[in-house]
């Protein structure tokens, strides 16, 4: 990905390639434009994304109506006060003009561009206007009194404005213009008061504005994340587990794959990279208890953060799991490994017996290893490679990996910001359907912490470096793993699980042997299974084994 270069008058358009050099010179036709910008308008010196054209046309119509309906002496005041940062960015200045018209009743200044525009409408190529204009909304609004027209328009579109402002602010942050970003944050906060922050775009925007604020206003750069104790995190995690199906899907899918991989083995060992309350394991213990041929000896090694107050929370969870295993007659042994970070764990701590079948279970943990690592020593391998290396040395029968399906680890801040805005908007949409309180509110706090980490942290503090399934496939294949297809039992179970949730928008999809759970066809979480293969002389493995189905 090409890093975003600092261009002199670059408009805030969140695309990968830097835009053409100058905004209003007529020599831009030679330089190839990124496909999203409307070519016709660009010829007139305006940069508008093609996807925004309808929106901009609507707003221009409303602006025209508002101006025509305002008293003539106020129109002359248009020339005086407003400062428009970037006249070539049609959508932003139209939005800001409309909001100023609404806010103060004194019309902002009209830059010469706009007066030319109004007096010479053919500057906008008539053809696109005819094609793109949506008649209904403008017509309806024109029937109402003019001031009211502007008010309702702004209220409806405040959400869209917020999104635009968020993108602009992120772009300022990326360019290092923190003062501009800071003032925009304050504008957004005042706009937030006029928007419904209880749901929808208002709520998501609120969290992102907060995260940007932490980044911009933090003393000492990049921080101020609401850091919780491990105990708080566990509580939020638990409510996230209850409010929406993502974690349940992860647990049940991983368990099904592990169960099938353990078929025929009498000594099995599961290594859990993040034990939390151990909610994943009761179901596996019960399934092992009921498997034909009887349960194996099950060892569980749970990794988790050390408890600050001397409580051995890992051991407590282990005791509870042991009690459950005892009541269903499964021979069980537990071991806790306390480590602040996954890269601190060494394979000898897990005490793996060579005769047992090993399963490694990572639910949303591997992405935390994609950072620079705390040693800062370039000679040492990256944390992810080191950890994948020792996992491979354990020769696991199966490694289950569940990760967020989004790219929040791109080098450019704006790309990360944009992607996470869409991802978390979708996730909040899905959460809206949940009716359980206080689970829903606490689940939102859990997600909010992720957002803060993605947006406002950097370096080794930024742990939430989510990457999509395609990246993980490539990375794991390079590290010597081969995929295990999850099979139809896992798919059926996931579908059944979803029917139990009251919201109707969830969907399970199969993606080359992996399963993804999403909301309205946007995958949000992806589960996959892997095993390590011994390298042949040629280094190639031809078969992709399917994990066999065991139905109880």
């Amino acid at each position: 990905m090409v890093p975003y270069e600092t261009a002199a008058a670059a408009p805030p358009i969140p695309i990968g390639n830097p835009p053409a050099s100058s905004s209003s010179s007529s020599s831009t036709t030679i330089i190839p434009k990124p496909p999203e910008i409307d070519g016709l308008l660009a010829g007139a010196g305006y940069k508008v994304r093609s996807s925004d054209l309808r929106h901009v046309a609507q707003r221009l119509e409303r602006l025209e109506t508002a101006m025509l309906n305002s008293p003539s002496q106020q129109l002359s005041l248009l020339a005086s006060d407003a400062v428009l940062y970037n006249p070539s960015d049609l959508s932003t200045w139209v939005d800001s003009l409309l909001s100023e018209l609404n806010q103060s009743q004194s019309l902002p200044s009209l830059p010469s561009d706009l007066s030319d525009l109004m007096s010479n409408p053919t500057a906008l190529d008539g053809s696109w206007m005819d094609q793109q204009l949506p008649p209904p909304t403008a017509a309806v609004h024109n029937q109402q009194p003019p001031q009211l027209t502007v008010v309702t328009a702004v209220e409806e579109d405040s959400g869209i404005r917020l999104v635009h402002m968020l993108m602009t602010c992120a772009e300022y942050v990326q360019r290092g213009e923190l003062a501009l970003a800071g003032s925009l944050i304050q504008d957004m906060q005042s706009l937030l008061t006029r928007v419904n922050t209880g749901c929808g775009i208002g709520k998501v925007a609120g969290y992102f504005i907060d995260a940007l604020g932490r980044r911009v206003f933090a003393a000492g750069g990049g921080g101020g994340v609401p850091g919780g104790s491990a105990y708080e995190n566990e509580i939020l995690y638990h409510h996230f587990y209850e409010a929406c199906p993502y974690l349940k899907f992860a647990h049940f899918t991983a368990n099904q794959a592990i169960l099938e991989a353990f078929d025929g083995h009498d000594c099995v060992h599961v290594v859990d990279f993040n034990l939390m309350h151990g909610l994943q394991w009761p179901a596996l213990i019960q399934a092992l208890a009921l498997r034909p041929g009887g349960p194996p000896l099950l060892r569980l090694t749970g990794i988790g953060p050390p408890s600050p107050d001397g409580r051995d929370s890992l051991r407590e969870i282990g005791l509870r799991l042991a009690e459950l295993a005892r009541s269903v007659n499964v021979r069980f042994a537990f071991r806790g490994v306390a480590a602040a970070r996954l890269e601190d764990v060494k394979p000898w701590m897990l005490q793996v017996n060579p005769k047992e079948a090993v399963a490694v279970n990572s639910i949303m943990q591997l992405h935390k290893l994609l950072g620079p690592g705390s040693s800062g020593d370039p000679a040492r391998p990256a944390p992810i490679d080191a950890v994948l290396g020792w996992i491979r040395s354990l020769n696991p029968k199966i490694m289950t990996v569940v990760e967020q399906e989004s790219n929040h680890n791109q080098p450019a801040f704006l790309d990360r910001f944009t992607e996470s805005l869409y991802y978390y908007s979708t996730m909040f949409d899905s959460l809206d359907a949940c009716a359980l309180q206080p689970e829903k509110a606490l689940a939102e706090m859990y997600i909010q912490r992720e957002i803060c980490n993605v947006v406002s942290c950097e370096g080794s503090a930024r742990l939430e470096r989510h990457e999509p399934l395609a990246n993980w496939r490539e990375r794991l294949t390079r590290a010597g793993f081969r995929p295990l297809h999850l099979g139809s039992n896992a798919f059926k179970q996931a579908s059944m699980l979803l029917t139990l949730f009251s919201a109707e928008g969830y969907c399970v999809e199969e993606n080359e042997g992996c399963l993804t759970l999403g909301w309205h066809s946007r995958p949000l979480i992806a589960a996959s299974a892997w095993h390590a293969v011994a390298e042949t002389a040629a280094g190639a493995v031809s078969d992709v084994p399917v994990v066999g189905g065991v139905v109880l």
Binding site: Y241, P282, L436, Q493
Partner: protein, 134 residues
Amino acid sequence: MPAASRNSIGGGRGFGINDDVDILTEVLKRLDGRSVCVAACVCRQWSSIARKDSVWEELCFRHVSPGVRPVVVALGGYKRLYMVCVRPLLKRMTLARPDEVQLSLSLFCVHYYETLAGSGPPSSLMFLCNPVNV
């Protein structure tokens, strides 16, 4: 009351439904959940029979292998399984297939595990209480 029913059938040596507990159990086993609960309100004898786990076992999994029983008993019994897990699930699936049975057992197991924690009422199955959004 046994005496009353004997008289009502036809004086002297009739057979009353309450005489044979096993027959009564077999009859109650074939009812649906709500009817069993209604039956439990009839009299003390019916109430004690209606609380037998074997009645609820039939309700939960009519055609499942007996190996499941010790696990269910260990996790709290069939009546509890029905109340907490099977009844909400029956609104959305028939629980006739083994994989549906397996899913309900897994959910029940998580619920039991939460009760072991002893920190407040278990909540992992609360999502089942929501009506299905059509």
